[in-house]
Amino acid sequence: MKLGWNLTWFILVIVAFLVPLIIRSNDYFLSIFILCAIYVILASSLRTIASTGQICVGIMAFTGIGAYTSVLLMMKLHWHIWATLPLAGLTSMAIASIIAYPSVRVRGIYFSMVTLFFVQVIQAILMEWKSMTGGSMGILNVPSIGIISIFGLNIDFGHPLPYSYFVLVITVISLLFLYRIDHSRLGTTMASIEQGELLSKSVGINTVGLKVASFCIGSFFAGVAGCLYAHHLRVLVPSSFGLFPSIYILIDMVAGGRKKFIGPIIGAIILTIIPQLFSSFAQYQPFFYVAALYVVLYTLPGGLADLPTLIKSRLSKMRERRMANN
């Protein structure tokens, strides 16, 4: 069993590393690949926050904070990506920690309400603070992450193919962190809070502290994703970081299934690629997300990641019935 799962992950990573090479001649496909990776990080961060039972509807606030942090540090202080990337995450995490404490002490639904408010406040700040953020027009000349020398080779990561690999490496590292946290003692304790908060508290688990922790961890990686996003698009506008983009990420997580770690990854990949295939119907794109959401809500509560389990159980039921009839 364990070997089976590890083998699956290993194969997935290998395939992921091969994809950019295969599609290297098509910049559009590479762009979709990069966006998929970014949304994978975001959906997985959302899952970490949700592991303590908190549904965040405003993850893009932290993505935006990370994006603007990295871009401003790079443009105004000329710092290198190796500094701005972690700082993007840390700034998001710092701001998350400020609003975390009051938001987690109360019932779960209040947390969602506060994140709803928060993402809109952050978006409003990004739009109004013209001196720093360029207002609603945004920042139009985001620098690429430039030339980095790896093992003596100078690679210009401003181009789509090298940048795809940069993003992929950061994604894999982020997912590794999130996976290790999820499968550690910390992660299982966090999951127990969702199962029964009162019970967890009664055995001495610091539910408030862990809820703040999961929120901070999730927001850190959302900030990192924001940095990757900014240097990919090279244009930074506040409208990308509002309530509805956040809701799409939430749907990615729900549609993929949030019980298994791979759920949000599947959700993010499928729900990013398919709308792109039908980009001529962009007006109707939200309906696709709605359809995915309702299909999962009403027929497949565990999300798409649950599909193999569901098929297996149906097949075994059919087999049993056939054997009983014989």
Binding site: R105, V106, V114, L116, Q120, I251, F287, V290
Partner: protein, 284 residues
């Protein structure tokens, strides 16, 4: 200028109150957060607009028609969507989020982007001039209509059987059922009343601001702010909470900045969560 800001804030407050009351009713009685409530508000505004421009009825009749239409929609939504998710917060929230996307997208496709205002009805047109201050009558009118509707709601809850059933369910749904109260129709009525109030609020707001398929987000955000400040289970609380947020939104933009007004509103919400998480007037 201060008085104009005060009056504008007062009018906005009543609009927030009408939307927040519906949201609070849904929350207390059905234990769900009707995220799409803002979209009901938006649809209500558009119904008023199209009724006014398609028929010869007056503004108040249009408001009532809009209220009834969205009220019926609310009852239908309860039946087909929210009934089986009642009490189950997370799936209900997600389903309501889906509903929000549906209505907003339909709105964006159907309602073109040229500016639509709802014209101010004759009785409320013009300004009241007190010295150097000019106070548009419509803003007073909105406050009056809001107050009247809230009073009617309070009377309905206090003196009708359905209203008292609502109170019973909000206190203890299981006990209410044991007493013979049928929760299903009461939930439907609740969502119906909530939707009607939100629709009328939308129709009122349309006289002050242009209509937009995205106006619902504004409404749901303010309504959620009001119910966090006010707490669950108290109508006077919602009135106070609405007045607080409304007056901030009316006065602060005049002296500082509209964004600072939003930030102050958010700050008040966080402050309440820190100091009195159950809300200023909350029970639970």
């Amino acid at each position: 200028m201060f008085w104009q800001g005060l009056l504008a804030g007062f009018a906005e407050a009543w609009i927030y109150i009408l939307v927040a009351l519906g949201l609070a009713l849904c929350f207390s009685i059905m234990r769900i957060l009707q995220f799409a409530h803002g979209e009901i508000y938006m649809l209500g505004a558009y119904v008023v607009y199209y009724v006014l421009f398609g028929t010869h009825v007056n503004y108040f009749a249009a408001l009532i028609i809009s209220g009834l239409t969205l009220g019926v929609l609310g009852i239908i939504l309860e039946r087909i969507m929210f009934r089986r998710l009642r009490g189950n917060m997370e799936p209900a929230l997600l389903a309501a989020i889906g509903l929000t996307l549906i209505f907003q997208t339909i709105g964006a496709i159907l309602f073109t982007s040229y500016t639509k205002y709802i014209p101010v009805p004759g009785i409320f047109s013009g300004v009241l001039v007190l010295g150097t201050v000019k106070l548009p009558w419509i803003r007073l009118g909105i406050g009056i209509i809001g107050l009247v509707l809230v009073l009617i709601l309070i009377l309905v809850i206090r003196f009708t059987k359905a209203g008292r059933a609502m109170v019973a369910i909000s206190q203890n749904a299981e006990a209410a059922e044991l007493q013979g109260i049928n929760v299903n129709p009461i939930s439907a009525i609740t969502l119906g009343i909530a939707s009607a109030l939100a629709a009328i609020a939308g129709g009122l707001m349309g006289t002050m601001l242009p209509l937009s398929p995205y106006m619902g987000t504004f409404a749901i955000t303010k309504a959620i702010g009001v119910i966090i400040i006010a707490g669950i289970g108290s109508i006077p609380g919602v009135i106070v909470g609405g007045l607080i947020l409304g007056l901030v939104d009316g006065i602060v933009p005049l002296y500082i900045d509209p964004t600072i007004a939003d930030i102050i509103g958010f700050g008040i919400v966080i402050l309440i969560l820190l100091i009195k998480p159950e809300g200023l007037f909350g029970h639970e």
